[in-house]
């Protein structure tokens, strides 16, 4: 026994040496777990876009362009995690069997950054006065909210007038429920003043950071909230969002280390490979799994040609989304979409529906059969295409769609928009378009911001909603049922039906599912540790020495 042990020892020693040697070859970033956390320092993030939104209150303004800043200051009840929801201001929650109440148990010992305790009164105020009234997603998800009861300071009960599925509320927690302090906001004019109210420009919350300096057009500085509830958190002293309007200077800033991270579309795709090859800089789309976007081609159904489902199907066959993935997205973080729910949303996604392939011959035959043969000049009909100027990828896809449709005899005129506002008015208010390239974001439940893109009978002028002149009573019924069906299985089945109807009827075409691939310096630790990282609170982010 002894003998054999002593014989084994050198072998073991050798193995250890090997492991050690192997470990030393591993780049520092991979060993993050074993490193001692270093507190302090300033994380400088290149702000996405050329300016800051005026209204930064995430309880009201829910676009990702707002929340990636304010999520550090105002926290939701729960945050998305790779294995289900992570509790934040709530520790647990449960819906009643009849769907008429949803009880939320709140975290003890949490204070707002002004030192006042966080209680159920704040949830009541936020839900009743802000989420369900002033926030576009809250108005859908909490449409049937009657009131919030507060039996004790740490329990809030949402009471609904109609059955509301608990799974919908759960899915919406990370998106809808940023909690504002009632004692600060109640009785002020923040609701009417919009972006002109200081309480919306620099909102107050329970988060790990507080607004400390806003230099318009230049930077927003968040500093550590010393009374934050998270043990030892946050690790950073400051988070600074710096406006760097030019994409090339953003890349240079990252290269020199003046900026440690970019978010969303911060770096042009063409630059990503070059940056990734640099020492100390990496690219990743980890942390953006829960922030999927799509490129869609929307039809104006008021145009009788596009009101014809056979034409819409032919247009789908004339397009090759894989080419968009390969050339415009450079194959990075993008895949061919099959419908409004991205394939990464595995809880709702189904492939059991009509799937289309790229087939120009079939497209031409279908257009002939639909009564639109090529004319003398080879053109069947002409359409005007408006392209959302949101991302370089939307603009590129617009160019592609024009070329592809012209191949099958559809003349396309691209109508350029200098700004988002111009595009939005033309499409959402004036309905002055035939085709439109858009890039909707998908959120954790189809009911939050996806079904509204297909719901009929909405007023004109609502951005990011069905302004296509499309109405399908069968689809509307499914959308309505999805908001009140309590059984999770039955609800999922409803959204599969939703996808099937859309795949058949093609009210619009989902071309590409994509997520962003930002670049960052390797020294940023815990980056991308949850699927909605850019819009989470960054309380555990720290900077290693370089």
């Amino acid at each position: 026994m002894r003998h054999s042990m002593s014989r084994r020892r050198p072998a073991l020693a050798g193995l250890t040496a090997l492991t050690l040697a192997a470990a030393m070859c591993v780049p520092a970033g991979v060993m993050a777990q074993d490193e001692p956390i270093q507190s302090g320092g300033t994380l400088v993030v290149a702000a996405d876009g050329t300016s800051f939104p005026a209204n930064l209150n995430p309880a009201i303004a829910t676009s990702n362009g707002v929340v990636y800043i304010s999520s550090k200051v105002v926290e939701p009840l729960a945050e998305a995690g790779f294995d289900g929801l992570q509790p934040r201001l709530a520790t647990s929650w449960e819906g009643s069997d009849d769907g008429l109440t949803f009880t939320i148990h709140l975290r003890e010992g949490v204070t707002f950054s002004d030192g006042q305790p966080f209680t159920s009164a704040d949830v009541k105020f936020s839900a009743e006065e802000v989420w369900s009234k002033l926030q576009s997603f809250g108005r859908i998800v909490l449409a049937n909210l009657d009131r919030v009861d507060t039996p004790d300071p740490l329990t809030a009960v949402l009471v609904f007038s109609k059955p509301t599925p608990a799974s919908l509320i759960e899915n919406a927690l990370p998106v809808v429920t940023a909690v504002l302090p009632a004692h600060v906001y109640q009785g002020t004019d923040f609701a009417e003043a919009g972006g002109d109210s200081p309480l919306n420009q620099q909102p107050v919350g329970t988060g790990p950071f507080v607004f400390s300096e806003v230099r318009p057009g230049e930077l927003i500085r968040l500093t550590k909230n010393p009374t934050y509830w998270g043990e030892g958190e946050p690790y950073l002293d400051e988070v600074v969002f710096q406006v760097l309007p030019d994409a090339a200077s953003r890349a240079a800033a990252l290269e020199t280390g003046a900026v440690q991270a970019t978010v969303f579309s911060g770096v042009p795709r063409l630059d990503l490979q070059r940056l990734d090859a640099l020492d100390g800089v990496s690219i990743t789309s980890t942390g953006y799994e829960g922030l999927p976007y799509q490129i869609t081609l929307d039809f104006n159904h008021r145009n009788p040609i596009l009101g014809d489902v056979d034409v819409r199907r032919a247009i789908r066959q004339a397009l090759d989304p894989q080419l968009v993935v390969d050339t415009i997205f450079l194959g990075q973080g993008a895949s061919v979409a099959t419908g409004p729910i991205p394939s990464t949303a595995t809880d709702f996604y189904t492939e059991d529906k009509t799937l289309y392939t790229f087939d120009t011959a079939a497209a031409e035959a279908a257009l002939d059969a639909a009564g639109f043969p090529r004319g003398e000049d080879g053109t069947r009909f002409a359409l005007r295409l408006r392209v959302a100027p949101f991302f370089p990828e939307t603009v590129g896809t617009g160019e592609y769609v024009k070329q592809a449709l012209e191949d099958v005899g559809i003349a396309v005129e691209i109508v350029a928009a200098d700004s988002s506002a111009a595009y939005q008015t033309a499409v959402y208010t004036d309905h002055d378009f035939d085709l439109s390239i858009n890039s909707p974001a998908y959120r954790p439940d189809p009911a939050i911001s996806t079904t509204i893109l297909f719901q009929g009978g909405l007023d004109a002028g609502i951005p990011f909603s069905n302004q296509w002149g499309y109405a399908n009573p069968a689809l509307d019924q499914v959308i309505a049922d999805g908001l009140t069906t309590l059984d999770t299985e039955a609800r999922v089945e409803l959204y599969r039906e939703f996808q099937r109807i859309i795949a058949d009827d093609l009210p619009n075409i989902s071309l590409v599912d994509f997520r962003f691939t930002p670049a960052h310096r390797d020294q940023v630790r815990n980056l991308g540790d949850n699927p909605r990282w850019a819009v989470s609170n960054w309380s555990n982010v720290w900077l290693a020495a370089e």
């Binding site: 318009p216 928009a417 008015t425 959402y428 609502i462 951005p463 990011f464």
Partner: protein, 333 residues
């Protein structure tokens, strides 16, 4: 009776009023032709909204009025200098402009000074060496710099002096955690302005170089220079007083004309170097369809150009003794 200089300034300011009004009307017409208003831009930030919210906001922000009504409100705000509140930045327009003004003034002032003085110096040298190697190299070099787009030159300077050499900061108007004391802060800002000023200055230098060179060649052949030579004046004195000084006049005229152009050029440079100036504010105002803010930027820009031109006219008198106060007053000369 006002002293002539003061009355001249007043008269020039009064002349500026129709200029401001014409520019203001032009901007309004162009914006009206473009789709989208401030409410659309704001709702995009919110991530959505419904028709009643949009209607409420339009009423609150005075956008539900007719075109004429909006035009009158816009014109009134300019005439009464009551610029109101900006939707895009969320606050008073005057405040937004005043925070952005110093950066633009510094950038423009330093760039004009840099490009004009370097242009005058090199133009003078080129004129004295007319037809020689130096002349050829200087003239060609300036032309090439003039032909290069400013943003490209800026990026190249960033790559060389920031990424490779690490001598200057990459962007911004001062360090994020820079010194707070006045001297430290000034030095910090100056350090940040080196590259943008160089970029803007170099692209505009060719004009001054060519002007100075042409004017110097002319004065060099003039009768008064021949007379000065005949009197046996030292060459340096001839060059400075009799050749360079009169040759400066067209350069100074150009300074005034260029101020407007440079304000436009600085928009691009402000973008590349992330300087929060009037240029980026103008871009924000237009893209967010923020009429009060646009009115403010137009007003500020126009007033700035008018003031520069007044300064230019005043400096004539100092450079050219022939320009008397009398001529200033009558505007002849």
């Amino acid at each position: 009776m006002l002293p002539p200089t003061l009355s001249f300034i007043l008269r020039r300011l009064l002349h500026g009023i129709p200029v401001v009004l014409i520019v203001a009307v032009g901007v309004f017409v162009i914006l009206e032709a473009a789709p989208g208003d401030a409410v659309d831009a704001y709702l995009a930030q919110l991530g959505g909204g419904d028709a009643s919210l949009a209607a409420d906001l339009r009423e609150q922000w005075g956008l539900d009025r007719s075109e004429l009504g909006r035009f009158i409100a816009y014109l009134t705000s300019i005439v009464t200098l009551d610029l109101g509140r900006s939707v895009a930045v969320g606050g008073s327009v005057v405040e937004a402009i005043l925070t952005r003004l110093p950066a633009t003034l510094l950038l423009m002032g330093a760039s004009i000074a840099f490009s004009a003085s370097l242009g005058v110096l090199l133009g003078g040298i080129a004129a004295l060496r007319r037809g020689g190697m130096t002349d050829g190299v200087l003239t060609l070099g300036a032309l090439i710099l003039n032909a290069i787009p400013g943003f490209w030159l800026g990026l190249i300077l960033i790559v060389v002096f920031v990424v490779w050499l690490g001598w200057f900061p990459h962007a911004g108007f001062g360090s994020i955690n820079g010194p707070r004391d006045p001297i430290g802060r000034s030095l910090d800002i100056a350090w940040h302005l080196v590259l943008p000023v160089t970029t803007l200055g170099l692209t505009y230098m060719a004009l001054y170089l060519r002007l100075m060179r042409g004017a110097m060649i002319e004065t060099r052949a003039s009768t008064w220079v021949r007379a000065a030579r005949a009197r046996g004046l030292p060459e340096t004195r001839i060059v400075r007083r009799h050749m360079a000084r009169p040759a400066l006049l067209p350069v100074v005229t150009m300074l005034g004309l260029q101020a407007g152009t440079m304000l436009g050029g600085s928009v691009v440079i402000e973008t590349v170097f992330a300087i929060p100036g009037l240029g980026s504010l103008a871009y924000l105002a237009v893209s967010q369809r923020d009429l009060p803010l646009i009115a403010g930027v137009v007003l500020a820009g126009t007033v700035l150009v008018i003031i520069v031109n007044i300064l230019v006219d005043l400096s004539y008198a100092r450079i050219d003794p022939r320009m008397t106060d009398e001529r200033l007053r009558t505007g002849v000369g």
